[in-house]
């Protein structure tokens, strides 16, 4: 996984709460067996609407999505994270993320930054009055920044320490866990024999 330290890119204001994973990528787009190519399904239904934010050329190159609370609710599909990444997003900002989505983001290297709802409002206002404006998410200092001069917005964001460390180091979880192989073997040796198995010797 690539290391994530800080990112600056065009911010996309998505003024919606409860953006569920069926909106991020509808089920019909989940049939691929690869990790790439899901950008065509990103917000598929909404993109039919000419007024949808990503259809505005000023935001088309966006890489920081700024959404309302309860982003990523619903299905466990990691395809939602891949679709955002395949499209070009590096970070998503929201006042509250669904658990599974946040977990998946951390594993796949998409930064899910939890930012106070009032600050999200201000970023929305800024991005709408200045389409194409950039937003910075700095993982090292846990800060989000946008705008300049009197309009400047700067605030901290929440992310758990462990995910932050892994993203900063670009570490693969499986590799870390395999380092604890002896602990796993010890645990397995003590499991009760009546626990069910799917295959019998």
């Amino acid at each position: 996984m690539e290391k994530f330290t800080t990112h600056t890119g065009v911010g996309v204001p998505l003024r919606r709460s409860n953006v569920d994973t069926d909106q991020i990528i509808p089920a019909v787009y989940l049939k691929r067996v690869t990790r790439t190519g899901f950008e065509d399904g990103l917000f598929a239904a909404w993109r039919n609407d000419p007024a949808f934010v990503l259809n505005n050329p000023a935001y088309a190159a966006g890489s920081v999505l700024v959404a309302g609370p309860d982003f990523g609710t619903g299905s466990s599909r990691e395809h939602a994270v891949w679709a955002l990444q395949n499209y070009g997003f590096k970070a998503v900002i929201s006042p509250r993320f669904a658990d599974i989505f946040r977990g998946n983001s951390g594993k796949a290297g998409l930064l899910a930054a939890q930012v106070d709802e009032k600050v999200v409002q201000r970023i929305w206002d800024l991005l709408e009055s200045q389409p194409g404006a950039e937003v910075t998410v700095d993982l090292e200092t846990r800060t989000v920044r946008a705008g300049e001069g009197v309009d400047a917005i700067e605030d901290s964001f929440d992310i758990d320490d462990y995910t932050r460390w892994r993203l900063l180091e670009g570490l693969d979880d499986i590799g870390i866990t395999l380092g604890h192989d002896a602990d796993i073997a010890t645990y397995e040796a003590s499991r009760p024999r009546w626990k069910p198995v799917t295959q019998h010797a």
């Binding site: 709460s17 069926d22 909106q23 989940l30 669904a98 009760p192 626990k195 799917t198």
Partner: protein, 474 residues
Amino acid sequence: MGRTLSEKVWDEHVVRSTPGEPDLLYIDLHLIHEVTSPQAFDGLRLAGRQVRRPDLTLATEDHNVPTLDWDKPIADPVSRTQVETLRRNAEEFGVRLHPLGDLDQGIVHVVGPQLGLTQPGMTIVCGDSHTSTHGAFGAIAFGIGTSEVEHVLATQTLMQAKPKTMAVTVTGSLPDGVTAKDLVLNLIAHTGTGGGQGYIVEYRGQAIEELSIEGRMTVCNMSIEWGAKAGMIAPDQKTFDYIQGRPEAPTGADWDAAVEHWTSLRTDDDAVFDKEIVLDASTMTPFVTWGTNPGQGVPLGASVPAPEDFEDVSDQVAAQKALEYMGLEAGTPMREVKVDTVFVGSCTNGRIEDLRLAADIIKGHHVAADTRLLVVPGSVRVRLQAEEEGLDVVFKEAGAEWRGAGCSMCLGMNPDTLQPGERSASTSNRNFEGRQGKGGRTHLVSIPVAAATAVRGTLSSPSDLEPVAAPATV
């Protein structure tokens, strides 16, 4: 200080715990299906890794399989590739698979309990958010993403920060005709879709104890719809009776040892939850959704709300958007909402008890003229059991379509979808925009409401039905 049920089960599975890091948790059962696993197996292959415990892994085909002509090759080539990829991966990595046509094929959350693989005190994961269903047995069960699927395949563990604990106590008894589905829709409307975020929830209290195991599965299934990490219910005699004798249940001395342990899986009297909610079941009525998330629900006897009815500005905006999408006018009585398709099925309400209840209500009636009723059993065994009891005949005589097992219209990945603008009453768990097909409009309902709605063509409960003319034979 005492511990809660979830803390006990959690503690039993900690392989490694270090301050500042998530716990490394052992996984007792890993369920797999065709949609969220191909990239995980690919990852293993790339890294030259094996499946650590194929004997704790089970695969089935459910999300993307047809419910008609299941004995023929899948028509859509992309879907076929996905299913074939699972078959190839299962073969290569030595994973037990119940493919289309197999007696144990079906929705992954119906198959696990049916085989007796789902037992109290286990940790169960699957690349599917409704894995919470298995919590009905007193297991910690939750959905994971594909990276985590790969992690479990390679290590049989997961790194997990310990969630907070919440108790949802449902006092009193559910009135007649009010089901587990109504209970959980009520709860979600009360908490909102984010109300459970960060918690493992234990459902308890008289109404929960009185539920059948299938009803408990319905409640736990929808835990994720209010954002909870997992939902669970303490195992009791009903749980043990349900498991005993199933193909993968322990037997003999193992059974006794298992039951002895399971009996200890209860929240201690002096345990403290991080949060508690209390609801009264005795005042609940049939509940249906009007909007585009499972928290946007009202009693069937109520009317479509107006955006101004909500205090919070973001709720008002969400309501406005939902009404537009759903094509509903504020103030319309829910009972006047006309439905095109009724879907009976899914891991929420696709088990034998659900089909029995639906058949019981529909018997002697006919599906309304412009309405379509689709009945999709949750598994092949549910289908065969229903056919043995003649339920399929009841459905077919009423004008319903009787299908093969799978997720079907719950997520509309296979050909079973709504057309744009079409409206459904669905016993599944999600009413998101486009969930059941692009432009489709979904009302989440219980089995009795689904059955009565199929007969009347508008959202209804069995009490709205004319009595059946011929003397009812039981």
